[in-house]
Protein backbone atom coordinates (compact mmCIF):
# COMPACT_ATOMS: atom_id res chain seq x y z
CA UNK A 1 0.00 0.00 0.00
CA UNK A 2 2.72 2.46 0.89
CA UNK A 3 4.17 2.11 -2.62
CA UNK A 4 0.85 3.26 -4.08
CA UNK A 5 0.77 6.22 -1.72
CA UNK A 6 4.32 7.16 -2.69
CA UNK A 7 3.39 7.05 -6.37
CA UNK A 8 0.44 9.34 -5.60
CA UNK A 9 2.77 11.72 -3.72
CA UNK A 10 5.16 11.63 -6.65
CA UNK A 11 2.35 12.62 -9.01
CA UNK A 12 1.41 15.54 -6.78
CA UNK A 13 5.04 16.67 -6.69
CA UNK A 14 5.05 16.54 -10.47
CA UNK A 15 1.94 18.72 -10.63
CA UNK A 16 3.70 21.29 -8.40
CA UNK A 17 6.71 21.29 -10.71
CA UNK A 18 4.59 21.59 -13.84
CA UNK A 19 2.68 24.49 -12.29
CA UNK A 20 5.94 26.08 -11.20
CA UNK A 21 7.33 25.99 -14.68
CA UNK A 22 4.28 27.89 -15.88
CA UNK A 23 4.39 30.40 -13.05
CA UNK A 24 8.08 31.18 -13.29
CA UNK A 25 7.68 31.97 -16.96
CA UNK A 26 5.64 34.84 -15.80
CA UNK A 27 2.02 35.86 -15.74
CA UNK A 28 1.04 38.84 -13.56
CA UNK A 29 2.03 38.95 -9.86
CA UNK A 30 -1.51 38.08 -8.76
CA UNK A 31 -1.39 34.85 -10.77
CA UNK A 32 1.88 33.89 -9.17
CA UNK A 33 0.52 34.41 -5.70
CA UNK A 34 -2.56 32.31 -6.44
CA UNK A 35 -0.33 29.59 -7.81
CA UNK A 36 1.64 29.60 -4.55
CA UNK A 37 -1.64 29.02 -2.77
CA UNK A 38 -2.33 26.13 -5.12
CA UNK A 39 1.07 24.59 -4.36
CA UNK A 40 0.19 24.87 -0.68
CA UNK A 41 -2.84 22.67 -1.28
CA UNK A 42 -0.76 20.11 -3.18
CA UNK A 43 1.84 20.28 -0.39
CA UNK A 44 -0.89 19.46 2.16
CA UNK A 45 -1.91 16.52 -0.04
CA UNK A 46 1.66 15.20 -0.23
CA UNK A 47 2.09 15.52 3.54
CA UNK A 48 -1.14 13.62 4.22
CA UNK A 49 -0.09 10.86 1.81
CA UNK A 50 3.37 10.60 3.38
CA UNK A 51 1.85 10.56 6.88
CA UNK A 52 0.00 7.38 5.94
CA UNK A 53 2.83 5.85 3.88
CA UNK A 54 5.58 6.51 6.45
CA UNK A 55 3.27 5.87 9.41
CA UNK A 56 4.26 9.14 11.07
CA UNK A 57 1.30 10.93 12.64
CA UNK A 58 3.25 14.15 13.27
CA UNK A 59 3.09 14.82 9.52
CA UNK A 60 -0.63 15.50 9.80
CA UNK A 61 0.29 18.30 12.22
CA UNK A 62 2.68 19.68 9.62
CA UNK A 63 -0.18 19.61 7.10
CA UNK A 64 -2.41 21.38 9.62
CA UNK A 65 0.17 24.16 10.00
CA UNK A 66 0.41 24.48 6.22
CA UNK A 67 -3.36 24.85 6.04
CA UNK A 68 -3.41 27.41 8.88
CA UNK A 69 -0.54 29.56 7.65
CA UNK A 70 -0.91 29.35 3.88
CA UNK A 71 -2.94 32.51 3.95
CA UNK A 72 -0.16 34.61 5.57
CA UNK A 73 1.94 35.11 2.46
CA UNK A 74 -1.04 36.06 0.34
CA UNK A 75 -2.26 38.60 2.87
CA UNK A 76 1.20 40.17 2.99
CA UNK A 77 1.14 40.25 -0.80
CA UNK A 78 -2.23 42.00 -0.93
CA UNK A 79 -1.04 44.57 1.60
CA UNK A 80 2.10 45.16 -0.44
CA UNK A 81 0.01 45.79 -3.52
CA UNK A 82 -2.26 48.12 -1.58
CA UNK A 83 0.76 49.99 -0.17
CA UNK A 84 2.40 50.26 -3.58
CA UNK A 85 -0.79 51.56 -5.17
CA UNK A 86 -1.06 54.47 -2.73
Amino acid sequence: MSEVLFIAALLLLLTILAGLWRVLRGPAPADRMLAVQLFGTSGVGILLLLAEAMDERALRDVALLFALLAVLGVVAFVRWRAGAAQ
Binding site: A18, L34, Q37, R81
Partner: protein, 98 residues
Protein backbone atom coordinates in the same frame (compact mmCIF):
# COMPACT_ATOMS: atom_id res chain seq x y z
CA UNK B 1 -8.78 -6.78 -1.24
CA UNK B 2 -11.56 -5.48 0.99
CA UNK B 3 -14.37 -3.17 -0.13
CA UNK B 4 -13.00 -0.35 2.00
CA UNK B 5 -9.56 -0.56 0.38
CA UNK B 6 -11.11 -0.64 -3.06
CA UNK B 7 -13.21 2.40 -2.26
CA UNK B 8 -10.14 4.16 -0.83
CA UNK B 9 -8.16 3.47 -3.98
CA UNK B 10 -10.87 4.80 -6.24
CA UNK B 11 -11.21 7.93 -4.10
CA UNK B 12 -7.43 8.37 -4.32
CA UNK B 13 -7.55 8.03 -8.09
CA UNK B 14 -10.37 10.56 -8.25
CA UNK B 15 -8.43 13.00 -6.06
CA UNK B 16 -5.34 12.69 -8.22
CA UNK B 17 -7.45 13.20 -11.31
CA UNK B 18 -8.66 16.56 -10.01
CA UNK B 19 -5.14 17.68 -9.04
CA UNK B 20 -3.79 16.74 -12.46
CA UNK B 21 -6.73 18.28 -14.29
CA UNK B 22 -6.14 21.51 -12.37
CA UNK B 23 -2.48 21.55 -13.33
CA UNK B 24 -3.23 20.82 -16.98
CA UNK B 25 -5.60 23.78 -16.88
CA UNK B 26 -2.83 25.93 -15.43
CA UNK B 27 -0.52 24.87 -18.25
CA UNK B 28 -3.08 25.26 -20.98
CA UNK B 29 -4.68 28.57 -19.99
CA UNK B 30 -2.16 31.00 -18.57
CA UNK B 31 -2.66 34.67 -17.69
CA UNK B 32 -6.28 34.50 -16.71
CA UNK B 33 -7.27 35.09 -13.17
CA UNK B 34 -10.67 33.44 -13.46
CA UNK B 35 -9.07 30.23 -14.74
CA UNK B 36 -6.79 29.93 -11.75
CA UNK B 37 -9.73 30.83 -9.53
CA UNK B 38 -11.52 27.79 -10.95
CA UNK B 39 -8.34 25.72 -10.62
CA UNK B 40 -8.10 26.33 -6.89
CA UNK B 41 -11.55 24.79 -6.68
CA UNK B 42 -10.39 21.72 -8.62
CA UNK B 43 -7.56 21.41 -6.12
CA UNK B 44 -9.92 21.60 -3.18
CA UNK B 45 -12.09 18.82 -4.57
CA UNK B 46 -8.91 16.82 -5.17
CA UNK B 47 -7.80 17.29 -1.57
CA UNK B 48 -11.26 16.35 -0.34
CA UNK B 49 -11.27 13.03 -2.21
CA UNK B 50 -7.67 12.40 -1.11
CA UNK B 51 -8.57 13.01 2.55
CA UNK B 52 -11.56 10.70 2.24
CA UNK B 53 -9.37 7.98 0.81
CA UNK B 54 -6.75 8.35 3.55
CA UNK B 55 -9.41 8.42 6.26
CA UNK B 56 -10.72 5.08 4.98
CA UNK B 57 -7.20 3.64 4.83
CA UNK B 58 -6.26 4.72 8.34
CA UNK B 59 -9.51 3.32 9.73
CA UNK B 60 -9.39 5.63 12.74
CA UNK B 61 -12.03 8.21 13.65
CA UNK B 62 -9.48 10.57 15.19
CA UNK B 63 -7.45 10.63 12.00
CA UNK B 64 -10.58 11.08 9.88
CA UNK B 65 -11.63 14.04 12.01
CA UNK B 66 -8.22 15.67 11.69
CA UNK B 67 -8.25 15.17 7.91
CA UNK B 68 -11.70 16.77 7.73
CA UNK B 69 -10.47 19.74 9.78
CA UNK B 70 -7.45 20.22 7.52
CA UNK B 71 -9.61 20.04 4.42
CA UNK B 72 -12.09 22.59 5.75
CA UNK B 73 -9.25 24.96 6.70
CA UNK B 74 -7.68 24.68 3.26
CA UNK B 75 -11.02 25.40 1.61
CA UNK B 76 -11.73 28.43 3.78
CA UNK B 77 -8.26 29.81 3.11
CA UNK B 78 -8.48 29.04 -0.61
CA UNK B 79 -11.79 30.83 -1.04
CA UNK B 80 -10.62 33.90 0.87
CA UNK B 81 -7.32 34.06 -0.97
CA UNK B 82 -8.99 33.81 -4.36
CA UNK B 83 -11.30 36.67 -3.42
CA UNK B 84 -8.45 38.83 -2.03
CA UNK B 85 -6.16 38.35 -4.98
CA UNK B 86 -8.97 38.95 -7.44
CA UNK B 87 -9.84 42.21 -5.66
CA UNK B 88 -6.21 43.32 -5.61
CA UNK B 89 -5.88 42.38 -9.26
CA UNK B 90 -8.93 44.47 -10.07
CA UNK B 91 -7.53 47.43 -8.13
CA UNK B 92 -4.03 47.17 -9.56
CA UNK B 93 -4.99 46.54 -13.16
CA UNK B 94 -4.30 50.10 -14.34
CA UNK B 95 -0.73 50.30 -13.09
CA UNK B 96 0.67 46.81 -13.01
CA UNK B 97 4.20 46.69 -11.77
CA UNK B 98 5.59 43.77 -13.72
Amino acid sequence: MSVATLLALSLLAGGLFFFIAGTLGLLRFPDQLCRIHALTKADNVGLGLLSGSLALLSGSWAVALKLLLIWLLVMAAGATVAQLVAASHQAGREGDRD
